[in-house]
Subunit: 174 residues, 2 copies
């Protein structure tokens, strides 16, 4: 449809998650009209990420050094580990500013349908971390409560979530 | 929230039209997990567009040479010019494969509220093209019909469109 390099950019953008063909076209024309410095900055940010980001050797989170910022932070409690699927889950938990322990990123979840078993995740690494005695194994394992979003309407909750919300209902001080 | 280069990429992606903060994060993590060759290809496509795309000196469409593919195509009828706002409108009209003339891209529309007047658009260039005699001035100026989308429901049409659809209604052969 377009001349080579524009169509090429539209095709590349269209491969990104959440960007359809119309969105890719819109972004491409936005970039065409944009200051070329802005486009270069975006291109440089892409290259930098491929060159500089690696995965923390301890927890598997994204990092710019051997270990991530959180593992390097000595103020964080090493005796509590929050196990999550992906690096973006670390960011989500960090955002609530409540958890002061460390993380362990599994790199996915067990999913037989996608052929992902325990050996495809960083479970061995988790066991090794637990074995060194910093975290006392078998003591306490918790998971976040399932339930309704704060301020959410009952009618929009799926049955499983509503079921969990009822199972886990808490006594009010009245 | 994230280490420097990742946050930087998320910020840059978040500036693109139609990409919110969540979308930017999703794209960034997709790129982190992607083959670094794929990311480099996207970065190269961005750079290529800034370096190689310019605007056709005749019609104002995007081009990789002095003139765009359409202006260079001698099979296209030079006596008919379709005037559009943006290069992406050229692509939209080309998609219907009906129009065999040339284009003129104004680079926007008159919009006093945004401070865009006739002098900000490529109207002078259009007049110059018309003056050379290839297109006979004053002969016929048309605009596409306004109306309902094919298969569209009446209830979803705004009043102005529905009004235009009624004004322009066509006799059926029955």
């Amino acid at each position: 449809m377009y001349e080579g390099v524009i169509q090429n950019l539209i095709d590349e953008l269209g491969r990104l998650p959440g960007v359809g063909p119309k969105g890719a076209q819109r972004i491409a024309f936005h970039l065409l009209a944009a200051d070329s410095e802005d486009v270069r900055r975006l291109a440089a940010a892409l290259i930098e990420v491929t060159e500089r980001v690696r995965f923390c050797k301890t927890c598997g989170n994204v990092a710019e050094a051997e270990e991530c910022r959180i593992c390097l932070d000595t103020r964080r409690d090493p005796s509590v580990i929050c196990v999550v699927e992906e690096p973006k889950d670390v960011a989500a938990v960090e955002k609530i500013r409540e958890f002061r322990g460390r993380y362990h990123v599994l790199g996915g979840a067990i999913s037989p349908i996608d052929g992902v078993g325990p050996d495809d995740l960083r479970i061995r690494e988790l066991m090794a971390r637990l074995a060194d005695g910093t975290v006392t194994m078998g003591l306490r394992v918790t998971r976040p409560a399932s339930g309704l979003p704060v301020g959410g309407d009952l009618e929009y909750a799926d049955e499983v979530t509503l079921g969990r919300a009822f199972e886990g209902r808490r006594l009010l001080d009245v």
